[in-house]
């Protein structure tokens, strides 16, 4: 009996010691862990709703101090066996019988007569003690701990997901907030905006070219067929083959529109109403609407990452089509000068006061325009 006691008491003490340690850890780390949960959760919410956070760095900063504290506490607060025995005694409500018996078995070699009696009493109680310590309720996480764990997981999940701000910006591409957000996130030039600007510039140039051609024809017609000038059905000199090409290009554009990466690039739009289109585009093939309005081009600088739009390129056919199709008579333009390779400050092309392009140009202006288009055609010819 006594041998069993000598063997079992230290074992029970060690078990209680472990329980005491874990309980102390929970108690002492409740506050820092609580703060960690709060930080994680609210950071996740902020990350999703307002401000994109650098998740790995944030995780490191949030987790490192509590982890260090936990380690220090775990090492420093390992309870002694005497503390374990005291805790077990209190747990068993043994009125120091367990503690005294454990001390006798642990330290004393030859117990006195009273100590022998005490060990006998302890031996009689041992089965109950074993049962009680075995059946004592395990430390289950309380409701606050469960809530904390849930919030921590949720917060971490929110932090790991890409920020909602970025997603919105990528999807809509038209929000000013998104533009600002992206300009905050990245200092690189927005390629879509740049492409749109280039396209717009090219379209304006094409419009001017058509206008100059129309003016030349008008000058010629003034001498020969004044009534033709009034009809003006083929003033742009567009051939039926060109019209077919436009249809092919329109099919491409339709495909591009389905592609979210390319749909922000507005090259040409097919009007839903052919009659309306015909009204707006005198000189183009019936049913073909290749107009681009200032509203469509401006304000559509979709923010995107370079990775997402890396496959977008502007081919020379598209540019030439744009030049060929647009007479420029119906276009409204902005008062700003045409810009390419713009600085970030000038990147936004906003529509200012609308100006109708005048077909009457001074000779000097015509010379300038002609020279400009020569340069443009040379530029296009050099492209593969």
């Amino acid at each position: 009996m006594s041998e069993t006691l000598f063997k079992m008491l230290p074992r029970l003490v060690r078990r209680q010691q472990r329980r005491l340690w874990s309980a102390q850890l929970l108690t002492r780390t409740a506050l820092p862990l609580g703060w960690l949960v709060i930080i994680l959760f609210f950071s996740g919410v902020i990350h999703q709703g307002w401000l994109q956070l650098n998740s790995p760095l944030f995780f490191t900063l949030a987790l490192l101090p509590p982890a260090l504290y936990l380690s220090v506490v775990a090492i420093r607060r390992i309870p002694t066996t005497a503390e374990g025995a005291t805790a077990a005694d209190a747990q068993l409500k043994a009125h120091a019988l367990f503690l005294s018996a454990w001390e006798i078995t642990a330290f004393r070699q030859t117990p006195s007569s009273t100590q022998k009696l005490l060990l006998l009493r302890a031996s009689a109680e041992l089965p109950h003690w074993q049962e009680q310590l075995r059946s004592q309720p395990k430390q289950r996480p309380g409701s606050s701990l469960l809530l904390g764990i849930t919030l921590a997981i949720l917060g971490s999940f929110l932090l790991l997901l890409p920020g909602k701000v970025t997603q919105k910006a990528l999807e809509s591409g038209s929000s000013d907030d998104a533009k600002q957000q992206l300009s905050k996130d990245s200092e690189t030039i927005d390629p879509v905006a740049a492409i749109n600007e280039v396209l717009l510039a090219e379209k304006k140039a094409a419009a001017l070219k058509h206008e100059s051609q129309a003016a030349t024809q008008h000058a010629k017609a003034e001498g020969a067929h004044p009534e033709e000038e009034q009809t003006g059905n083929h003033s742009n000199g567009q051939s039926p083959e060109k019209g077919n090409e436009s249809q092919v290009e329109r099919g491409k554009n339709e495909k591009n529109r389905k592609n979210p990466a390319a749909r922000n690039i507005v090259v040409s739009e097919v009007g839903k109403n052919p009659g309306e289109s015909a009204k707006r585009h005198s000189g183009t093939a019936p049913g073909l609407d290749a107009s681009v309005t200032a509203d469509q081009t401006t304000g559509q600088a979709a923010p995107f990452t370079q990775q997402r739009y890396q496959d977008i390129s502007l081919d020379s056919d598209r540019k030439s089509l744009a030049f060929d199709r647009h007479t420029g008579q119906h276009l409204t333009t902005t008062s700003q000068p045409l810009k390419t390779g713009l600085s970030s400050a000038d990147r936004d092309i906003t529509s200012g006061g609308e100006q109708t392009l005048s077909t009457s140009m001074t000779p000097d202006q015509r010379v300038l325009v002609d020279r400009y288009f020569k340069q443009l055609s040379q530029f296009d010819a050099s492209k593969p």
């Binding site: 005497a82 120091a96 503690l99 001390e103 007569s113 009273t114 100590q115 006998l120 009493r121």
Partner: protein
């Protein structure tokens, strides 16, 4: 004699039963003072002197008489007054004439030569008389004219004092208070206890008719058994921690006390805790035993600061707070 033989379970059981019988005998004569009787009995079996403090008429003398009656001990009483001399307590040499007609000086033993001495209103005696009494309490002997006269063993002094009468009194110095194992406050009984008291002691003094339930030999045996109670090292460590908590200059000590309890207080705490455990039928001292006995053992061994006294802070309330905090830390 008991230490030489092996103690058995029945020895402890008998000691527990005898103590329970003594307690019941005292409770039958003193009504409504169960806690006081418990502590008095513990101090008595521990072999220490007892200081009872309470208002007049609360049954302090009655309690001492009842204890003497229940144990069959010879009981003597000293009523202290300012003109009481040391010799009135210890005894003195007087000239006597023997049968042959020769005269000689003989030492006439005073009332202190009794196993149980009741010193009533000890704070009315002069410091000189108090010192003589307290020396006898400590040394268990009286020296007169170069001759040492041992006091009976066991020897108990039960002293009483009145807390409200200050004029014409000589409060016991701290060093002398330390000689008492415990200081027990006699509280006013409850309404129910007062009614019960009327039933049993209106026209009679029950303590005068109390039959002994223990003899001196049995009493000594129980005291020896009490000394065999096991005190674990962890309990001893806890007792030291508690004692140090009364000291203002130790870490975690209170600032309300000018002086903390003495090492003799620590001994007293463990002695009384052992008997408290025995009275509960245990072979080992528990933390609760220390907690229960700490207040009566420590309350007369600490000294409040002037500031705390002026603030009207009670020594007991500070000690209760210390004991409570200590118990929660264990």
């Amino acid at each position: 004699m008991q230490a030489n033989r092996e103690l058995t379970e029945s020895d402890f059981q008998d000691a527990y039963n005898d103590l329970s019988g003594l307690k019941q005998a005292l409770e039958s004569t003193i009504v409504g003072q169960e806690g006081l009787i418990d502590r008095l009995l513990i101090a008595f079996i521990s072999g220490g002197h007892i200081l009872l403090e309470g208002l007049p008429g609360l049954g302090k003398t009655h309690l001492a008489k009842a204890l003497a009656g229940a144990t069959g001990l010879k009981f003597s009483r000293v009523q202290c007054t300012p003109d009481l001399m040391p010799a009135d307590i210890t005894g003195s040499e007087i000239l006597i004439r023997d049968a042959q007609g020769e005269q000689r000086l003989d030492f006439q033993r005073g009332p202190i030569f009794a196993p149980l001495v009741l010193v009533d209103e000890i704070n009315r005696a002069t410091p000189k008389t108090q010192a003589a009494l307290l020396e006898a309490m400590q040394e268990h002997q009286v020296t007169h004219a170069g001759i040492t006269h041992p006091l009976p063993s066991p020897f108990w002094v039960m002293a009483t004092q009145n807390p409200i009468e200050i004029e014409g009194t000589y409060p016991l110095p701290e060093a002398q208070l330390d000689r008492f194992l415990v200081k027990l406050n006699v509280e006013f009984p409850s309404e129910a206890a007062l009614l019960s008291m009327l039933e049993i002691s209106l026209d009679d003094e029950p303590s005068e008719h109390l039959q002994p339930v223990l003899d001196l030999e049995r009493l000594v045996s129980i005291m020896a058994t009490g000394r065999e109670i096991v005190i674990a090292d962890r309990i001893k460590q806890a007792a030291v921690t508690l004692l140090l908590a009364t000291h203002p200059d130790t870490s975690g000590g209170t600032s309300h006390f000018r002086y903390g309890a003495s090492p003799r207080g620590l001994q007293a705490l463990l002695k009384t805790a052992r008997i408290h455990a025995l009275l509960q039928g245990r072979l080992q001292v528990d933390f609760d035993d220390l907690a229960r006995m700490a207040l009566p053992v420590l309350r007369h061994r600490v000294l409040l600061t002037i500031e705390s006294e002026l603030d009207g802070i009670n020594c007991d309330s500070i000690l209760r707070q210390i004991i409570q905090e200590w118990r929660s830390r264990i």
